[in-house]
Subunit: 322 residues, 6 copies
């Protein structure tokens, strides 16, 4: 079992509505804290949404996700995994953005995630909009391009917006491929749907070898079949998992900026994560939770439930690798 | 490709939150505008709910639907159809109701839709409550009774309410059959469910030959089978499509006056529209979106997503017929 | 047909938004009313939530459920059952709690339900949190332990909270088994999911013979198969039905204190009730609707729809038994 | 002291969230109830808003006002009046509207209030929109025109809307003067403000002698001075009091269809009612509370607080007159 | 009277909930429209909030303000001014921002307002956050520094944020003074309050001669006295009026990103605008309305009410100058 | 200046939406932390509402207050006080309640506040309901009865509820006087209003010498005069300040369980705190903020603004005493 210091506070001892809210009631250990060296998985908030092209709000995501995460208990009722006993987990706090300067924020994020990688910590990030994933990949892909399993209703593969702006939440994976952070042959995008500007993003995906699985195919083939393919694409090499909450149908996740109807329900949303067992995950994120569009926190509750499922898979894998 | 004048503003050029909101960012062309003659499909708002027997609100539907419709892009990601390139589409504005005089409103609507028909425009209407469909049918059925494919949780086939009131949102299709606007043999109602006053509506349906498909049958047989039957009932002659948002489960469409639990999800809600390909549609509507009961606009977002799917089917058919 | 006095007011006569709201627009007949002797099924409000360990609110459930219940009509559209014509139904009002004294409330509830049982009335209760079910069982299980079919995402079988508190909404069925109110061999819990403190509750279930059907098994086997087993477990002897609204996915039932994602949709939520036909039901409840967490009333609307389905099954059974 | 039957349930005995909600927890005594003859002041719901020209919703007012009214206690903390001990008060239920037929509703209301007058009951009505006051006056003004003290941000004195519709919530007092229900010389309108279509209403007021006190004058002179004039205008003969909740600033009363900024605060809103002492009130109403635009019930809470203040003044006067 | 083309649609003719929503139901005349030459006052939307340091949202302000502005009628009930009859007014649409590039947006705004100035139009802008005012001033101050009367709870005079970012909604007037767009001796800031980082902004104000009137002084001296001083400071030369909605107390204007309690009420908020009569206004704005933080639109309703009061003062002055 | 460790994080460095939310962005120092000895003023959360007789929710108060408190800056704009530079302030975390056992919670609280007193820390508590103040007083009044300045709309002086329950949020000060924790001659209650059960509380106040200032007297005399009397009643001996957020009008503080209309506005709410300068404050609280009834956080924002004003007065006094 991991260090008692790293165990979450139990709801049997302190009611869930009490206490300063850290992610899953874990200890708060910043990168400058001496105990940082003991951390295996770091939960990080990325409160930034300067890449958002329509409805802003994900900058408030980490705080609401922390709040709702106090309802997470220590064990996974379905799989039996108890992640906090397998790996030392901690809340690392938030990476500090500069909301008034997009490029400065990109640099701050990159430096922050480089430090995480250098500390040997596997990050599980709570966004923030999807542009956050670009500097995370810049920080993590130091040893060569990563694979990626990507759940989303959008490809985020466009070239630019508004007459040339190359850094928005619709472009991070175009940039990541161009910069050599991702190996397109090892990238799969699952759940794509909604109306389309044009086919530029799909054409790019095809040209570089990214596999795009539209929602119609997803529902037709079923989760097990699709995820087997996803694992096969990612292979055994280091892989990043990026989960945009708008992958899920907006009835289950209303609090997001660019919802697309016709998506998976919450049970399916969980199942795809459980099917990640065995993937060599070097980092993961849950992005685009936008509290101003869901004051009740329902979306954040689904979001932290998904983060916990990701954590279980990551902890199990790390414990097995030890 | 259709006239550039009739192309919607792109979110790549002007952010989606900017600009005066017309339906799908199309040009606003009123019936008195010289360019009305070039319009093939007219998007019309019907802000009227005097037929509502319980919770009013659909009078505010068109405005919220216009607002949310700014998030629609130019192409259908699943079917590839780009309706605005196939047919000249425009926002015709709202048909003017008289909220203080039900009969006057019925007459105003009838005259308005007669003009639309005479102008050779196929209307796609955003309600308003379901009584709106009665004067629309009065305006469109000039050449004999129409067929109808009707998605709803209620039959709207009752005779009268409150001691004799014959014009409410629970009676439009009873009136339409009585007035010879609909050919009951070519009418199918899909998704019926919820508690029942009595069987008067079902008895009427049976007596005149309207086909009623309850939600249990719908789920059991599946969408493809049910919609094949629906297309067969409608046949090749002119058919109207009426889509009450309460067809969809209230988790996906909370903003409506008479929700009934146990309905289709949003993916299924879309699929039934895509199965309308080939139907000879002379008009369609999406009704009963009630913004006061869904301030977040989630219901309107589903509503405009469905309107776009309807538009794709209609445009494809019209382009093929040319 | 039952007494006209016991028929609900029709929405054809008085609009659904009018009138003092009783459950399903039934007459209000308190336990002290002379006509109480004629009542077959009593709808009771249990406005109490002192057992809630996290987010309070179900104390407000009965009032909101009454409000939304005015949208229920007299017949079941799917099964054709018209319960108010089969059995005299009435709104008995609320059992009076003492929100400042947990043990006093337990005693008040027990006495109240003892009177109901003695009056030969079958209670259908609207909670309140799940601790309410404990004193209901104390009142009803006078002739020996009951069976129970229990829909929930939690087992509510824990021993104690907060250093020894034995009466919370996480413990009622542990107490009920210990007190001999339930026969654990005739208890089945359906829909269990979510994160877990530990396996203490599951271990207890196994040790006493309670059957726990997790949500994964539920989805895999399907409703008909699971419910056939449930009926078999309950057998023909007296059985209580307890329905925690958090059995349903929070997209369909957001207004509850401890939601767990990944649950059934509203159609499935209804179907399990319809599969209770033939069970010897001596009482039922619908608990944990929490209006402060769902001001729109969507959860209460689902709740009263489920109460109506329960009522149909109960009335049909009682009419058949006569 | 009045009959114990007519005393409200105390929050010391039954918590305020418990019980079927009647107005101020009073007994429900319909016009057909034998005990109706003992009632001195009748609280009536008028769930009707067919006269609303913009945002509907007041049809839901009575139910929400009843809900919030359970927080009213038995005594007036400031004046010491305990109305329920002075006069027998009861909740008479709702006057039944026909939401699909405006003229039928007007007739139903008129007959209902005629019966109230004939029963010797003084009505305190919870609207509904302001058109409700017209048939109330028709029912009450059997012995000649009444005076009126009217709190509102609008005069409601327009002739017609939408090309001739003479019955909307913007016209009731024009009709009432024309029909001889009100003596314009004994009518005062207080709090008028907001933008104006034109001066037609003000011109009419001036031509018939209605005194209009704009909000600027109200604030400048102060409540005591203005209300002294109001009492002087009403004189000692029978007077009706009509209180539109939009008299109050929308920060205090957001839930209404036509709010106008720049109004009185809630303390001032109460003070004007207390200054009605001594007026010969034969009926009063509180209208235009619109729950769909204030789900939290804040407006209804102010509304019932004002109804209680009205009730205190009315009860004190009736008790003094005995 | 002005051209009939420029008259708003009346609510007597078309209900206020109907029609495509332009500002105050005025015609939509873009800068490229031939009729732009006839426009005297242009209402402009500035949907941009990239300068926001905490809670974003004002990018959605113009759309919600247009929606609520449909409730504005043609005349000012208090002052009698009918602005649309005095000056040709039009909705010019929105100035197009680039949400992904702050400097590009500043340039786009500057060019847009330069064109407005060159067209001889006086702009009344609906923001957007307060950084919008900087490029507006750049566009308008072509002939030398302007005076400014500024209503706000913050001075917006800071030098920089987040380690050097000089363009945020906390810095526009520091920049405007530095760039020579404002004459600090002719600038007055009214309503300042709330907690403070430090005194850097106040020190700057003092050093350049900007007059800061804190809320305590405002309440103590009264509106007439304060506004007389404000008019005196502005003098007779060209003056800009900038109105941050957070000047008003958050009970009246909750929908804003940085509310400060203890502000004026809505009546006072209006009175200060009426006291601007006689000021030589060359442009005005109402900024910081943030719809995500006020879904009900109460803040936008106050905002458009204030815009109408500004419009009345501006139109009266322009008509007098002709 | 105080220790840099105890300075809050600046919004100039880290945006206000970022970071784990502690009270006012202060360091989190629990009672077991070695640095606790350096703390002068401790901000404590009291997440408990078991004393609430109607609408629960204040258990969630501390978390929402912490969230909103991140918008507090380091200095008081009006008084110039910079409390964090005068006294070492820290967030002590939450006192742990037992939501299932009222007496156990009372004991836990008493022990916790005894420790605070023994550590020489002056507590500023964020409730929680008003029953929390009883065990706080038990913990603090070790050296004899305290004086109290109490802002509230209720006296909270009742004897018991629900047939004898002596511990609710309507009874704490009755108990405190009976237990000798308060010296009634040095207690003043300000702002009392609303409807009344009876005069039992007022009679008790009079019998023991508590001074009750009703809201009518408060408005009539003005803040300066009333507060001068309050300071005189409290005198120079140790005094506790208890601030129930329902002292403020519900338009400014909607999120509370028992609102009473007709209260002070937010400017007045602040002014009364500033008038506490010179009082010998040994502890203070801000109670009854109920997030479920104000999801937007407006009430919490007012609440933390008031806590900051209290902190300024307390810090100034402590610094002066050194």
């Amino acid at each position: 079992m991991s260090d008692p210091f790293f165990q979450p506070v139990s709801g049997f001892d302190l009611p869930r509505f009490a206490g300063v809210p850290t992610f899953m009631r874990l200890p708060h250990v910043s990168l400058d804290d001496p105990r940082i060296a003991e951390v295996g998985i770091g939960l990080v908030g990325a409160p930034w949404d300067s890449g958002t092209t329509n409805r802003a709000g994900p900058r408030h995501g980490p705080r609401q996700l922390r709040d709702l995460s106090t309802m997470i208990r220590a064990g996974n009722g379905a799989t039996g995994v108890r992640p906090f006993e397998l790996v030392n987990c901690a809340d690392l706090g938030d990476v500090p953005p500069n909301p008034a300067d997009l490029q400065d924020s990109l640099d701050r994020f990159t430096r922050y995630y480089s430090r995480i990688r250098e500390a040997g910590i596997v990050p599980l990030t709570a966004g923030g909009d999807h542009l956050c994933t670009l500097p995370i990949l810049r920080g993590l892909a130091a040893d060569g391009p990563l694979g990626m399993i990507h759940f989303d209703s959008h490809t985020d593969l466009f070239h630019s917006y508004f007459g040339g702006s190359m850094y928005t939440h619709g472009t991070p994976f175009r940039r990541a491929v161009e910069e050599g952070l991702l190996d397109p042959k090892r990238v799969v995008q699952i759940g794509i749907r909604g109306t389309a500007y044009d086919t530029e993003d799909r054409d790019f995906a095809e040209s570089v070898g990214i596999r795009v699985i539209a929602i119609e195919e997803f529902f037709k083939r079923g989760i097990e079949d699709v995820m087997a393919e996803a694992r096969s694409i990612a292979g055994t090499r280091p892989t990043y998992v990026s989960y945009d909450i708008d992958f899920v149908d907006p009835a289950f996740a209303p609090g997001t900026g660019t919802p697309e109807v016709g998506g998976p329900n919450s049970f399916q949303a969980i199942q795809v994560v459980r099917e990640l067992r065995g993937v060599n995950i070097v980092g993961a994120d849950l992005v685009e939770v936008s509290p101003p569009f869901d004051p009740s926190g329902a979306t954040a509750w689904l979001g932290v439930s998904l983060m916990f499922e990701l954590l279980c898979v990551m902890a199990e894998q790390m414990a097995a690798a030890t």
